[in-house]
């Protein structure tokens, strides 16, 4: 194997690498072993701390919490995609009067921390139950990021696309909605999905304003006395749920990307702008 930094290893290097591998395994196994030992020593694996999983009512409230997380995600994702498309088109408008306000809105909502945004709605405006504030915050923040993604996607398309569309007599709106945005979405699909993963993770912020989602469930069950306050077991379960949901989404992204690569309708861009955005999506 030859990467940027290393030449193909010779016999001595291979020996050295094997030594490194062994050392790494020892160190990491030691670390994991130590943590597991702490888990066992403090009784985190005791049956009592996990027995909450057996009760029907708790299982049902876990499913409810999961559905609430998915509800916030679903609503947030749909609204954010719409918001993103509208403001991307706004930013690309020929009219200054539309372009400048769109840019301002997008910059503004990207600069304010999502926590502060959600607090502004929940404590400042109080539009209703916590779900509203969570979805509003998720929509405005992720919508603004998506607007940037869409805009970068449209700008990365070859000029010939819009020129050809104008040449066949399409109007500006038609060019945008029928030619440019659909192609931009395809080109930027990895970036869009990775932003949706961010959105899914950010639903956990609902915890801060007591929206009944997964982390809120973890807090309630975690401080439940009868099961010895199983804070660590319940955190492990909830973390596993989040990680699998996000991996499912990421897996979907790779699948779609592979499929679209086979598809001839997608324009190969010289430099894929999606990569930069994916790397920076926190």
């Amino acid at each position: 194997m030859s990467s940027v930094l290393f030449d193909v290893p010779g016999p001595r290097a291979r020996l050295r690498h094997r030594l490194y591998a062994a050392l790494t395994i020892v160190v990491v196994a030691g670390l994991i072993g130590f943590v597991l030992y702490r888990f066992a020593a403090t009784g985190q694996f005791e049956g009592k701390k996990w027995s909450w999983l057996e009760y029907v009512n708790i299982q049902l409230s876990l499913v409810d919490a999961l559905l609430n997380t998915l509800k916030a995600f679903g609503l947030g994702a749909v609204f954010a995609l719409v918001f993103g498309a509208v403001f991307a088109a706004g930013q690309l408008s020929d009219h200054k009067i539309i372009r400048v306000p769109s840019m301002l809105v997008v910059e503004l909502f990207r600069a304010v921390p999502l926590v502060v945004l959600i607090f502004v709605f929940h404590y400042g405006v109080s539009p209703g139950p916590p779900l509203y504030s969570v979805v509003l915050g998720l929509t405005l923040y992720n919508g603004s990021v998506l607007a940037e993604v869409f805009r970068a996607g449209v700008l990365s398309l070859p000029r010939g696309q819009s020129e050809a569309a104008y040449a066949v007599g399409m109007r500006k709106t038609q060019v945008m909605t029928n030619v440019l945005l659909p192609q931009a979405v395809r080109a930027m699909l990895p970036a869009i999905i990775s932003q949706l993963v961010v959105l899914l993770k950010d639903t956990a912020l609902g915890f801060l304003i007591t929206y009944d989602e997964l982390l809120d469930f973890a807090r309630d069950i975690g401080s439940y006395f009868e099961f010895g306050r199983p804070l660590i077991p319940v955190t492990i379960v909830v973390a596993a749920l989040y990680i699998s949901m996000c991996l499912l989404l990421t897996w979907l992204a790779t699948y779609l990307e592979k499929r679209s690569r086979r598809d001839k309708k997608v324009i190969e861009l010289e430099k894929n702008p999606a990569e930069d955005v994916v790397a920076a999506a926190v």
Binding site: V63, L208, S223, F225, E226, L252
Partner: protein, 295 residues
């Protein structure tokens, strides 16, 4: 595609979960002996009572997250605690048996609105009587006189009251009245004040040893202490006065008088004490009987 995968995954998960489900709860939670249900109750001129009568059921607003007071057991889904006992007692004397009660969990911020809208017939849940609230709702009672107190570990001999908190880590809920008092009276250093989202988390941190004391109304603290009387104790020197009342619709004086009569009988008879002993009393601390304030 995605929706189908998700639905299948959820369904499979749901089946796997419920297939081995246990009903009921792990521990027995205290309840007082059931009350004799009164018959032929009349409350003349009370629209709220007429509504209950027509419905055949009573809807009571309660808390669901206060162990020992108003608590919904997450395993059995049943409500228990001192507030619930009082709610049941009042319902029984109004002619409604336990199986005719619908509990509705309402958090502090939504209490006035729930009574004004008529979502609940009455509300029993750590509801402090004060003049500001009396402009929107009416209060019967007080049925309990709470006061700000401290919850500490059983073996802690250093904290004996609010004046001994200096240098100790004190936990309460973010932005709550008790934590404000700790701040404004400088009971401990600002860097030793811990603000979390719920009292349960504070108690959790106390048991871990991350904080030294939890402060709020003694009724709430006794609720936690009654869960684990071997490890926690309430100091028992309240330094504020919080009379808990039963919230009622503002203009229903007939029902208010009736509920006051019921409370009066329960306090002077033995029912109030029985309700206390079965719930908060398990914390090992006693309570003063409240004095009704009719208006």
């Amino acid at each position: 595609m995605r929706v189908r995968t998700l639905a299948v995954a959820l369904l499979a998960g749901g089946l796997a979960l419920t297939a081995c489900g246990k009903e009921g709860g792990p521990g027995d939670t205290g309840t007082a002996p059931p009350q004799q249900v009164a018959t032929d109750v009349k409350v003349d001129g009370s629209p709220t009572f007429d509504k209950m009568k027509n419905r055949g059921r009573v809807v009571i607003g309660v808390k669901e997250d206060q162990p020992g007071l108003g608590y919904k057991d997450p395993t059995s889904g049943k409500f228990n605690g001192f507030d619930i006992e009082i709610a049941k007692l009042v319902a029984a004397k109004l002619g409604f048996a336990d199986d005719k009660i619908d509990y509705k969990a309402i958090p502090s911020a939504g209490r006035e609105q729930a009574l004004i809208n008529g979502d609940v017939d009455y509300y029993v849940g750590t509801y402090t009587i004060n003049d500001k609230r009396k402009q929107q709702v009416a209060f019967a009672g007080p049925y309990f006189t709470a006061g700000q107190d401290l919850l500490v570990k059983k073996d802690d001999n250093e904290i004996t009251g609010p004046e001994t908190l200096k240098g100790k880590k004190v936990c309460s809920v973010t932005g709550s009245t008790p934590i404000q008092k700790v701040k404004s009276e400088g009971l401990t250093e600002p860097e030793n004040i811990v603000e979390l989202q719920t009292y349960s988390l504070c108690v959790e941190q106390l048991e871990q040893g991350a904080v030294d004391a939890v402060t709020t109304d003694d009724a709430i603290l006794k609720g936690y202490a009654s869960q684990s009387p071997t490890t926690l104790k309430v100091i028992g020197k309240p330094f504020s006065n919080e009379p808990y009342g039963i919230g009622l619709p503002k203009d229903d004086k007939a029902l208010r008088d009736k509920v006051n009569d019921i409370l009066d009988a329960a306090i002077s008879g033995g029912d109030w004490q029985k309700a206390y002993d079965a719930t908060l009393g398990k914390s090992g601390s006693t309570a003063q009987k409240p004095v009704l304030e009719r208006y």
